[in-house]
């Protein structure tokens, strides 16, 4: 198998139960090719966040396996896996911990050994991508929720990961920031897995979608195709929003 053939992300038979005994994943299989942008859809409590937290080994598989570019997510490969996979958490407060925005964004690259002007440039670029360059010296916990979410995205962009995983990145963003984020994601030539409840956003950004429901994959296919199947959508609490018809829009060419 050549380098380019190895899937960017492979999940096989993944099952997981939380320490209090509640099982959230019941055997999930999912493969993402390099450079693909895939939306992960599903109702509240389906297990999306639980799945995401397995992708860099924050949660360890109860059964099954996860591989990133062929590398299994196990203790010994953790450092390398975390270099390759960047996760934007659903709650920005889970992501930000340094006293200023700049230090927080610099943290990842600095840990990887980057220093000086190179680091400076990386940080500035990431903050510009989310439109927050002027907030660099503020403490992150004194920002508005949407600003914190954007800082969270910047901290991960600054690491330039090979696989970018975003857990509802567009929630709490104002509409323009949402579009700007879409532009940034489209401009990156990396593998993206995006959890979202915003169906038009998924349609706009991701050619392929996966529906996770009650801890198993319920559907996997073209986004427009899935959204035009009202039966499927309804049975997984994925109703289309007011005033939106997925059949009538022309999806941007990727």
């Amino acid at each position: 198998m050549t380098e380019t053939d190895t899937p960017a992300l492979e999940i096989e038979g993944l099952a997981y139960a939380y320490p209090d005994g509640r099982q959230a994943l019941f055997g999930v299989d999912l493969t993402l090719r390099r450079g693909e942008r895939v939306a992960l859809l599903g109702p509240n409590g389906a297990g999306k966040t639980t799945l995401v937290l397995h992708l860099n080994g924050i949660l360890r598989a109860g059964a099954g396996a996860v591989r990133i570019g062929g590398l299994p997510v196990t203790e010994e490969h953790l450092a390398e896996v975390r270099r390759r996979v960047g996760i934007v958490f659903q709650d920005p407060d889970d992501q930000l911990f340094m006293p200023t925005v700049r230090e927080d964004v610099a943290f990842g690259p600095a840990t990887a050994g980057m220093r000086g002007v190179e680091l400076e440039a990386r940080v500035t670029r990431a903050l510009e991508q989310v439109g927050l360059a002027d907030l660099a010296d503020r403490p992150p916990h004194h920002l508005s929720f949407g600003q914190r979410r954007r800082v969270a995205v910047a901290t991960v962009l600054a690491m330039e990961p090979e696989v970018l995983v975003l857990d509802e990145p567009s929630s709490n963003l104002d509409p323009a920031s949402r579009r700007e984020l879409a532009d940034v994601l489209r401009s990156l030539d990396i593998t993206v897995l995006m959890v979202t409840h915003d169906l038009p956003y998924a349609l706009e950004l991701c050619p392929r979608s996966v529906v996770l429901s009650a801890g198993v994959i319920a559907a996997d296919g073209g986004t427009q195709e899935l959204m035009c199947d009202p039966e499927l959508m309804r049975s997984h609490r994925l109703e289309l929003p007011f005033g939106f018809d997925p059949g009538s829009v022309t999806v941007p060419v990727h």
């Binding site: 860099n56 924050i58 450092a79 975390r82 270099r83 996760i87 958490f89 407060d93 889970d94 992501q95 930000l96 911990f97 340094m98 006293p99 230090e103 943290f107 990842g108 840990t111 990887a112 403490p139 916990h141 901290t155 690491m159």
Partner: protein
Amino acid sequence: MGSGHARALYLPGTSAVHRLPAHCKIVAGLCFVLLVVSTPREAVWAFGVYALLLAGVAAVSRVPAGLLLRRLLIEVPFVLFAVLLPFVAEGERTEVLGVGLSVPGLWGAWNILAKGTLGVAVSVLLASTTELRSLLLGLQRLRMPPLLVQIASFMIRYGDVIVDEMRRMRIARASRGFTARGIRHWGVLAKSAGALFIRCYERGERVHLAMASRGYRGTMPLIDEVGAGTAQWTRAALLPTAAAGVCLMGWLTL
């Protein structure tokens, strides 16, 4: 919030001891300790009987002996102190295995060891059979000033907040490739520790304001009234009554 590190002290159960209202248990425990402390140290046998009484309570409440003993270890610093006493104390001296020891020092060591250990055992039993929240309600019921109850309940909640925020920050650091290895990394930890205090405070403050928004004025609503009847007070009085008998005998047989 709060996965509850402090709650780890509590052993869920349904024994007679668990079911006693918290304020009865506090009063009984306090009386018991008072009696123990006022027993003359020369009545060595009395402390044996006290220990047996507590062992009885432990058996009734099904607190495993191993656990009880392990938690007694908190006493170790005092034990060290007590063990040194016979060497450093003044007064009449005696020879044990060829080592010169102070007699008042030996008595002093015995006094602290016996009374201290019994006191610790009472706390351990109380903590293992009473939920923190009911303990606070118990103190409230015993007319502890509301402000003190409030500070205590915030303290317990903040214990959880601190643990929870520390966990979030650790995961956030790990996800960006950081593992604390050696002194080189203490700087990072110190930096994020500064942010930790503010972060904990502000999260707790927001939660407090959320409580205030729902009408909280400093006292928790008593949703389940847990008044104690005569039967329960009688049951709780068993331990101190027995101890009172022992204490009296201790003085009489002096």
